[in-house]
């Protein structure tokens, strides 16, 4: 232990702090069953949705196919801000709902175990916490996008859907949604910082925002008024919808810009709230 005479005040640099914290968060992520459960859920659900909708009903009649193409379980054919059926909604954007719940549980454990208490009493800055959690959870959601892609593709192929696609647009939609994981993860981290004392509300709010229902509602109003819907792409859900099977490179750039911008906003606001409020 340091005594008073020999006391040297040193603080780790931002790089050292974030490296240490990321190391811990990734260690925890890879050692929690929760992560693997959600990877499996992300793979199984699209596979089931694709495969089950092509199965015959009780009378042996083939059901009305939900999709016309394997890749529609990955992304919609066109930017559908307002959903008219489950097929318009059931695509890789669902990962952001699963991700929201996973992030809530993951961050909830920080508070339940007292880990944040241990963290914030030392040199750790609130910004470090927001950044580390956002990056770790974004990585988890990217992985979930990966398993979703694999599950959805296998399910669609097994179900016998048409596999023809514009590869460029498919890549834009998949990688665009993966990039958007950063913005979504920052939103969920932010929500969990706001509702840190109320685990149930954290999970519910992440689910609520993850569904994109607010933007769907706004889009419905915008469409009803026959106004242009392009501005909806500045929101995370809007950009997620915009990354579809007819998207060009511009949609990919939009995903990067929107994701990074919202991540920055949520990290800044979340850090500010943590700095100004009682943590534990």
């Amino acid at each position: 232990m340091d005594n008073a005479k020999g006391l040297k005040f040193e603080s780790p640099t931002f790089k050292q702090r974030i490296k240490g914290m990321l190391g811990v968060d990734f260690y925890r992520l890879f050692h929690t069953p929760l992560f693997y459960i959600f990877l499996a859920i992300a793979a199984i659900i699209p596979a089931m949705v694709s495969a089950l909708t092509m199965m015959p009903d009780q009378n042996g009649n083939t059901m009305e196919p939900l999709y016309s193409n394997v890749w529609q379980i990955i992304a919609a054919s066109e930017p559908l801000y307002v959903i008219k059926g489950i097929a318009d909604y059931a695509n890789m954007n669902m990962v952001f709902i699963f991700g929201g719940i996973m992030v809530s549980i993951f961050i909830g454990h920080d508070y339940k175990s007292g880990y944040v208490k241990q963290l914030f009493t030392t040199h750790a800055k609130k910004e470090d916490y927001m950044i580390s959690k956002t990056l770790t959870c974004a990585f988890a959601m990217v992985c979930m996008c990966g398993t979703y892609f694999i599950g959805g593709t296998i399910g669609g192929l097994v179900a016998g859907y048409n596999a023809s696609v514009n590869v460029g647009s498919l890549l834009v939609s998949v990688f665009g949604k993966m990039i958007l994981s950063l913005g979504w993860a920052s939103l969920f981290t932010f929500l969990n910082v706001i509702f840190r004392r109320y685990f149930g509300i954290s999970v519910a709010s992440s689910f609520f925002f993850g569904t994109g229902i607010l933007i769907i509602g706004v889009a419905a109003i915008v469409e009803a008024l026959s106004l242009p819907t392009a501005f909806l792409n500045i929101f995370l859900y809007g950009a997620s919808v915009n990354a579809c099977l007819t998207s060009g490179f511009g949609a990919f750039i939009t995903c990067i810009a929107v994701s990074v911008a919202w991540a920055g906003i949520y990290i800044l606001v979340g850090s500010h709230i943590l700095n100004k409020s009682d943590v534990y």
Binding site: M1, R28, Q118, K125, D278, V279
Partner: protein
């Protein structure tokens, strides 16, 4: 230099004023016993020092610097309420994660050294959730010790421990203090605190009502002559005629707080046909001093 210097600290939780201008001075190298009733403001003060909650007013200096300074914060180790450990991880992994968080180089060697210090060498592979309460508290102290802190803030580390657990904890804290760290330890178990503390702070209703060194406490504690007699009521009646401050304690002994000598009391009682079976001089301990203070009896 003082390790902690707090002036006029205030904290409100809604309409409730938890701290009402608390002052506190913790000298470097001391074991500071932080005493107070439930709800007196001990934990609130400790949480503020640790940066977990924000004060509404006042100033806090740690080693002469603002308590929010990240460099000074890197020199603090904390155990507030319970250790921040993941239950399904082993003791070693929990410590390793904290060491990584603190960017400690050669962390394995430091963890081994600290586990030895807290008498937990053999339990490194145990899952945290399977550890006893005493072990968990020592793991909490081990976590607080990572990063070579100069100041340890320990909130009720001996509460709930059995006699052996308390003894081990006491030894651990003394060993840590010998290595040069300043320790702030709050506890309700005053008898245990009395064995290790070098300084005391007594808080009540969100204010510090007394701060003293162990020597000052020793001098402040009321001295008395304890008398054991067969005819207690008889003896008490006579003693109260001559002395102004006479009480019967829980064990049935009669205490005379006035300045006098055992010989004088024996002689006086003998003259009044009371045979003294047992007599000794003693002084009240921290616990009784604290109770006296709370009851407004004063120290001497």
């Amino acid at each position: 230099m003082n390790a902690i210097e707090i002036r006029n600290l205030t904290k409100n939780f809604g309409v409730k004023q938890a701290l009402k201008g608390l002052n506190m001075t913790v000298p470097v190298g001391s074991i500071y016993g932080f005493i107070g009733e439930n709800g007196s403001g001990k934990s609130t003060t400790e949480k503020i020092i640790c940066g977990l909650i924000h004060p509404n007013g006042g100033s806090i200096k740690l080693y002469g610097r603002e308590y929010t300074d990240t460099e000074v914060r890197a020199k603090i180790g904390v155990l507030i309420e319970s250790p921040g450990c993941f239950p399904n991880m082993t003791v070693w992994n929990n410590l390793k994660l904290q060491a990584d968080n603190l960017s400690i180089k050669n962390s394995d060697a430091e963890i081994r050294k600290i586990l030895k210090l807290v008498r937990m060498e053999g339990a490194a592979g145990n899952k945290y959730k399977n550890c006893s309460l005493g072990m968990k508290q020592r793991i909490g102290i081990a976590m607080a010790l990572l990063g070579n802190p100069a100041l340890l803030v320990l909130d009720e580390p001996i509460n709930g421990l059995d006699a052996d657990g308390m003894r081990i904890m006491r030894e651990v804290l003394v060993d840590i203090a010998k290595s040069g760290a300043t320790i702030v330890v709050s506890s309700h178990i005053l008898g245990e605190l009395e064995k290790i503390a070098t300084h005391y702070g007594i808080v009540r209703g969100g204010k510090m009502i007394a701060e003293m060194t162990a020597e000052e406490l020793e001098n402040s504690c009321r001295k008395f002559v304890s008398v054991g007699v067969a005819k207690k009521d008889w003896a008490k009646t006579f003693l109260m005629r001559k002395y102004s401050n006479v009480e019967e304690d829980e064990q049935g002994y009669i205490r005379v707080y006035d300045q006098t000598s055992p010989e004088e009391i024996v002689s006086y009682l003998y003259d009044n046909c009371v045979i003294v079976n047992e007599i000794k001089t003693d002084k009240i301990g921290l616990e009784e001093y604290y109770i006296d203070l709370m009851q407004g009896k004063g120290a001497k």
